[in-house]
Amino acid sequence: MLGKTAGGLYWMFRYLERAENIARLVEAGFRMALTRSSISASEWESVLTTSGVLNAFNARYDKWTAKDVIDFMLRDPSNVSSVLTIVKNARDNARLVRTALTGEVWEAVNDNWMTLNQLLAKPVREAELPEVLNTIRQHSALVRGALHGTMLRNDIYYFSRMGTFIERADNTARILDVKYYTLLPHSSFVGSNLDNVQWETILRSVSAHRSYRWLGEDDMTAPGIARYLILDRRLPRSLAFCADQTVKNLDLLGEEYGDQRPCYELASQIRARLRNRTIEEIFDEGLHEYISRFIGMNNALGAQIETDYRFNG
């Protein structure tokens, strides 16, 4: 496979994952804004920080209002992280690697782009927002379904999956990075009502609020939630799950290619830091330091994969 094609697949799936995650973030923020208007402005600030576009937003607006943040995050073409920009990037990458995709995957990505272009052609009214966010997630699911249902399990698939999990790990880690202070045991909010709201928002941002309760983890405690998002290998958006999957796909790729590259070692190290660990140990190390370190290593892993498999040269 061409290095460029591997890169196109990897990025296509990173972008698709990112679009979906932004929809989740906006959804969690919107819910918070509806239910707790007093803290909604700072919540929008978190959404922008998590997406890495706070400065870009501040350069254009002076207040964090729901209307402006939603518009900026969903449809502003000048925002590199708006859903519209990202979905277009995903589709451009899909065009680039079209020969590597089944017709169904290509059509799902193309349809995603066409639908969202139309849906986001004008500002989204509050009444339509849930529907729009739902459509974004639904279309992501369609692409994923086409991928699982129609693609050969070979290097094409492995690079696609790696893009998904590296992006997802980055996203979950960013959410934790921005909100880590609400999870600290010595936080001044401990036990307060505000805590519960913050924690629920974190869980909602990764669509894990229901599963958390369902798994019987009904004690909403900071360590409980932190453990769930970082170490629980059952949760598909946890750091541990993403690390497992990345290693697994690198393993399969190595099997196909007959060798392992340096990125494999790095991925294994990341995984090791998430296995046989307790959340207490992580708190001892320092939650913020741990998360920052993870984000750094995850980025380095992405860069190493690009080098090892000659995405760009």
Binding site: M1, G3, R95, R98, M114
Partner: protein, 475 residues
């Protein structure tokens, strides 16, 4: 002024009867509910959009991907009509390849005085780098898309030879695919020769032209300028259908005297490169040094016999509009036979007498730039405004050698579906021929382009033209 006869209608004879090739289709058509057909037409458009069969128009933002309108009434040729056309195309393509070999080697046609030397020497499409070199398999133009127009029952003219990088074959294939999806029942009633083998034939034909240095199964790649090119869909489509890699210049590099592509597992040698990049951009070391689309050093690899470039660089000399007027002589010179397909009378404006005639009769003529393509920079006299005529008069006087002129042909018409039913529109035809040492392979049919505007003679997609599925009936 004498009233011109109406253009040849391919479906309906002057007495109102349906011509034999269309009889079965017409019978089916008259049974259809017009509302259903209208809905199918909308369905087809949605299908094209979803599949991404779009093109970009130069100068527009990339968000402006356009569809080439598709008309669902097929253009139908009988097996007999096709057989004659195919024979004529085969003759012409063979002659073009022989001509190219001659021009870049012994130049016998010049020595015989059948072609003025200046037409070659002063031609931008002529590449001195090709002199004395014979491409693998002796094939220069591997893929040819001859533009043919019809003016009567048995009157077919070649309008252009398109021997460098003809496009449109993906539309031919997708048009058929669309028709099969929309009207499966129609194809069980009317037996149509299939076109779907084209990618397989293309692969086989390119493989047969692999350089001698290639011993195993040849590795084929399609070279595209990238996703922003107007024909990108076609490039990816053909690569996909052939099972070949779709590469851009920056994926390639010269390694140990071969062209290799950067894969996830290192560099891999390419044997045959089906390039959809113009000559001028192919090798910045040899041609345009600014080009980012090509591969530095590829011409050296080529001349060393380590890669096949399809179509060969320098092929454009054969489809140049000034050379065009000599095609009947060229065909005769190399085949020893009269050309089967007719040429349109062509006035070479560089010749003073021709120029005078053209200027005096501008309103009746079509004027084209010698090196132009895509319907740009062209004057259609009968449709032109006074101002346009004046502009062209000035252009012709300033640089006559840059133009040729041809009489306005009464292009045949085929009906398209409009709100009120069927209405005739002018069409042309671009069949696709594949040349290799194995012979010349022509897909039955081709791309029919149709001018959707009533009375218009311009069929180019960039200027409001559409396409139709083209049927060649089984015998």
């Amino acid at each position: 002024m004498v009233q011109k006869p109406p253009p040849f209608d391919e479906m309906i004879a002057p007495d109102g009867s349906i011509r034999p090739a269309y009889a079965a289709y017409h019978a089916w058509f008259s049974e259809q509910d017009p509302a259903r057909l209208a809905k199918k037409s909308t369905d087809a458009e949605a299908f094209f959009r979803r599949v991404g069969i779009t093109f970009n128009v130069y100068g527009e933002s990339e968000a402006q991907e356009r569809l080439i309108p598709f008309d669902l009434v097929p253009r139908i040729l009988s097996a007999r009509e096709w057989a004659r056309l195919a024979k004529g195309i085969e003759q012409r393509v063979s002659a073009i390849n022989a001509f190219l070999h001659d021009i870049y080697n012994r130049q016998e046609i010049l020595r015989a005085g059948r072609l003025p030397e200046r037409l070659i020497a002063e031609n931008e499409a002529f590449l001195p780098q090709m002199l004395g070199f014979t491409p693998p398999g002796r094939v220069y133009t591997h893929i040819v898309g001859t533009d043919i127009v019809r003016t009567g029952e048995n009157d077919f003219y070649v309008l252009e030879d398109n021997a460098r990088t003809p496009s449109g074959v993906s539309y031919m294939l997708e048009d058929r695919e669309t028709m099969l999806q929309m009207f499966p029942e129609l194809f069980s009633r009317v037996r149509v020769q299939q076109v779907s083998d084209y990618p397989k034939s293309l692969r086989r034909s390119l493989a047969a032209c692999a350089p001698e240095s290639c011993t195993g199964k040849p590795t084929i790649a399609v070279l595209t300028p990238g996703i922003h090119n107007s024909a990108y869909f076609e490039h990816s489509f053909l690569a996909d259908q052939m099972g070949a890699e779709l590469v851009e210049g920056h994926d390639l590099k010269v390694i140990d005297g071969h062209i290799a592509m950067r894969t996830t597992q290192g560099y891999k040698v390419i044997d045959v490169l089906y390039r959809r990049v113009d000559d001028n951009f192919l090798d910045p070391l040899t041609f345009n040094p600014e080009s980012m689309l090509g591969v530095p050093g590829i011409m050296d690899v080529y001349r060393a016999g380590n890669i096949t470039i399809a179509n060969a660089p320098g092929t454009g000399i054969a489809d140049d509009k000034a050379i065009y007027s000599y095609m009947p002589d060229i065909v005769e010179f190399y085949s020893g036979e009269k050309a089967i397909l007719k040429n349109v009378d062509t006035f070479r404006c560089g010749e003073p007498e021709a120029l005078k005639y053209v200027l005096d009769n501008l309103k009746e003529l079509v004027v084209k730039e010698v090196h132009g393509s895509g319907g740009y920079g062209m004057l259609v006299g009968p449709a032109a405004s006074k101002a346009e005529l004046e502009t062209f008069t000035a252009k012709l006087k300033a640089n006559p050698g840059n133009y040729i002129a041809q009489p306005t042909l009464a292009l045949s018409t085929v009906p398209i579906l409009v709100d009120k039913g069927l209405a005739p529109r002018h069409v042309d035809l671009r069949p696709f021929a594949l040349a290799s040492p194995r012979g010349i392979d022509i897909v039955p049919g081709g791309l029919t382009r149709v001018a959707l505007k009533e009375g218009s003679l311009v069929v180019n997609s960039s200027q409001g033209g559409g396409t139709k599925d083209t049927w060649v009936l089984e015998d």
